[in-house]
């Protein structure tokens, strides 16, 4: 058992934090998120040059062959400065699905393109009326000669309007959920993009007999488990993005208490405020431990879905606690768009509602708690207690 980062991992963190820290100083994030596509294409290209966008993909598929720990490092650094680049959404979620289900040819084409920065791929899975389900419900796939056509509405699709490629889930003719690649060309779906509260972008995607390419080569395979697993891996990465954001929110709040004066003294002189800050630190460290553990479960081939639920429950509770307190302890300035702290709370709220919130995870954990005696985090591989 070892929770220390090795030298290469430390170097990766330094490189990513250097790049993003320079990119997102001062007001720059607001400028970037105010304009389309809501992130900085140049920063995206630099991340590609550093190899970050191909980090978890196999070397044969044009990636770096790195593991979940490296992904976690990048996600945490993104969260630390609220970088709006959709790393988790494109690399971990969309790339993860293509890596898990795609044919060698599809993997070679799509993953290499993502890694090079030339393809922003978005997963179009959520549907109005569903709630974090791993299955498609109303979007249907029908055969059309050798190909496929999809019909129905997907929303909200993160970065759906900017995306160069959509990975779409749909109900197969024989039942079960299939996955498809949809190219937003002339025959592509109607896409209506909009801003989200956290500065990001999402879209409504309307498929009207839109041509699609089956992902993988088994037209009868139900991909629900693959979606479940990819969502779990993305939830773990989001856990680290949340830890990075919470870390900054706490540090920013502590700094504010040290410098802001009221009644003639720094706010840090008021124990009612410092005790609440101490509790924020407790929440942060417990969330950090759980996110890190889930990453190591993934790395060790354990039950990643259960581990992701555990990480999500802890980071969700911590994110709300720290997000609320960070604004409250700042007072009125924390409400302003000009000041950064509220944006951290906004992003933490978005992360919490992408792919299942804390209560969603808790319900799933509560359903199985009778099935084991104790949780043994070191039992290897972790089998779900």
């Amino acid at each position: 058992m070892d929770f220390d980062y090795d030298d290469e991992q430390a170097a990766l963190r330094e490189a990513v934090s250097g790049l993003l820290g320079r990119a997102y100083t001062g007001e720059h994030r607001r400028t970037v998120t105010a304009a389309e596509p809501g992130f900085d294409e140049k920063t995206w290209a630099r991340l590609a040059e550093m190899g970050v966008l191909g980090l978890p993909f196999a070397e044969d598929d044009g990636g770096m062959g790195a593991g979940p720990v490296e992904v976690a490092i990048v996600a945490e650094e993104i969260g630390r400065v609220l970088a709006p680049e959709p790393f988790v959404e494109v690399v971990v979620l969309a790339g993860g699905l293509v890596a898990a289900v795609g044919t060698p040819a599809q993997r070679g084409e799509v993953l290499a393109a993502i890694a090079e920065g030339g393809c922003v791929a978005a997963v179009a899975h959520a549907e109005p009326g569903t709630r974090w389900s791993p299955s498609a419900r109303d979007v249907r796939a029908t055969r059309d000669g050798d190909g496929w056509r999809l019909a129905g509405v997907k929303e909200p699709v993160v970065q759906g309007a900017r995306a160069d490629l959509l990975v779409v889930s749909a109900v197969l003719p024989g039942g079960g959920t299939g996955l498809f690649l949809v190219r937003p060309d002339a025959e592509g779906p109607a896409r209506t993009g909009y801003r989200t509260h956290d500065g990001g972008r999402a879209a409504r995607i309307e498929l009207t007999g839109t041509p699609a390419e089956l992902l993988g080569d088994d037209a009868d395979a139900d991909r629900t488990a693959a979606v479940e697993r990819a969502q779990a891996e993305a939830r773990i990465a989001y856990g680290h993005e949340a830890v990075g954001a919470m870390d900054t929110a706490l540090r920013t709040t502590a700094q504010y208490l040290r410098t802001r004066k009221q009644f003639g003294v720094p706010l840090a002189r008021f124990q009612s405020l410092t005790f609440r800050t101490a509790d924020m630190y407790v929440s942060l460290e417990l969330a950090r431990s759980t996110a890190l553990w889930a990453t190591l479960v993934q790395d060790a081939g354990g039950d990643v879905v259960r581990a992701a639920d555990r990480a999500r429950l802890q980071t969700s509770r911590a994110g709300r606690h720290i997000g609320h307190e960070a604004i409250q302890l700042h007072g009125g300035i924390g409400m302003t768009a000009e000041y950064t702290i509220g944006h951290y709370t906004s992003r933490l709220t978005a992360i919490d509602h992408l792919l299942g919130d804390g209560d969603f995870a808790l319900a799933r954990l509560a359903a199985v708690t009778g099935g084991y005696e104790t949780v043994d985090p070191l039992g290897a591989p972790y089998t779900g207690g």
Partner: protein
């Protein structure tokens, strides 16, 4: 970065598990599992079994019985002991006075006290808190005045846990009332409980039990050789004693075991013919507690696995605070599972109320102490805010 234990550490874990579940008398482990009070003899018997196997004082210097284990090994030792319902070696002996004597005592004191302290041939109790010195310990007033070859002690200590069983008490006493800083005039003194002038008065707690006491000192004469280390340096030794521990700060194993018991009870209690465990609200409460305990355990593991430069991991301050909160939440959960039966704490022979339900409420009330002793949770928050967040 790796989750699995090394083969050696996994084997160590197995060795500990086997020892604790086979070598400690079953009756004692059953007593702990049932959350009944242990007798003095049961504490002593357990510690002697552990000591004979080299498992009572593994963290002491090697020449006094230490094992030179890594913090991770010590963590595993401690967790497996709790999971196996083995009463840990008496903290006053093995975690408090023993390490202080080993680090600061004279060679004579070490030879005289350390072997019987490890074997619980001497039962120690702690004389730190006073009626007017709780969280503000340095304002203690019990005095020791030099008179020839003796120290003469006068004053009062309180919250003396299991003092009724003790042979000796280690005290913080004021030896220099004129010192500029109140921390500077304090010494660390060893006093036999049977010395003339020492009286002990039990304090009954809200659970009806007797585990703490007041101890009064009236012109108690103690030979000068009973002072540990240097005169007026006692505060440093007390800080050493309270601050050098990073293993076993959070009662993870204890709470884990209690949660497992709670789940079994919830499966046994029927509500209108259905097991209470099927109640989704209760299941959610259990699942949330289990997850918080997991987060705490992982944080404890991060702290013990942290090898850098011997300094405690910053997150270690979280352990006592959150550890006691979760311990208390688990005791509360058991009361709520007992439901109406939780009132039957005084039921005797012939009652159909199971034993676990009878002890649930007294135990819950008793564990309100956990967030107060050993540096209250408000003191822990002060430490986090001050030393970690710079507030």
């Amino acid at each position: 970065m790796r989750l699995q234990l090394s083969p050696e550490t996994a084997a160590f874990r197995e060795e500990m598990r086997t020892f604790f579940t086979t070598q400690v008398p079953q009756e004692i482990r059953d007593t702990v599992a049932a959350r009944r009070h242990l007798t003095r003899d049961q504490y002593v018997e357990t510690q002697r079994v552990l000591n004979a196997a080299g498992l009572a004082v593994p963290h002491w210097p090697r020449e006094w019985g230490g094992r030179g284990w890594t913090p991770l090994q010590r963590h595993i030792w401690h967790e497996e002991m709790q999971l196996a319902c083995v009463p840990p070696p008496l903290a006053f002996n093995v975690s408090m006075v023993g390490p202080v004597i080993a680090a600061f005592g004279s060679q004579e004191q070490k030879e005289r006290f350390l072997p019987p302290t490890a074997n619980l041939d001497i039962w120690w109790c702690q004389g730190f808190s006073e009626p007017d010195a709780g969280s503000d310990l340095a304002s203690l007033r019990t005095s020791a005045v030099r008179d020839g070859g003796d120290w003469v002690v006068n004053g009062q200590k309180t919250w003396t846990t299991l003092g009724q069983y003790a042979d000796w008490i280690f005290c913080l006493v004021r030896t220099d009332p004129t010192a500029e800083k109140k921390q500077r005039g304090i010494s660390f003194l060893l006093v036999p409980m049977d010395a003339p002038g020492v009286t002990l008065r039990p304090i009954e707690l809200i659970d009806g039990g007797h585990e703490v006491n007041e101890v009064f000192f009236e012109d108690v004469r103690v030979p000068a050789e009973n002072l540990v280390g240097e005169e007026n340096r006692g505060w440093d030794y007390a800080k050493f004693l309270l601050g050098n521990e990073r293993v076993g700060v959070a009662p993870v194993g204890y709470t884990k075991r209690l949660l497992a018991q709670a789940k079994r009870h919830a499966a046994e209690v029927e509500v209108d013919g259905e097991p209470l465990a099927r109640d989704p609200l209760l299941a959610a409460r259990i699942a949330e507690l289990e997850n918080e305990l997991l987060a705490l355990e992982l944080t404890a593991l991060r702290v013990v696995a942290h090898s850098a430069d011997g300094k405690p991991h910053p997150a270690s301050s979280v352990l006592k605070l959150r550890g006691t909160e979760l311990q208390q939440a688990a005791t509360e959960l058991v009361v709520d599972i007992a439901g109406p039966l939780a009132v039957a704490s005084g039921a005797g022979e012939g009652s159909e109320v199971p034993e676990w339900a009878r002890v649930a409420t007294p135990s819950y009330l008793n564990y309100r102490k956990a967030s107060i002793y050993g540096g209250s949770n408000e003191v822990q928050r002060t430490i986090i805010a001050g030393s970690i967040l710079g507030l």
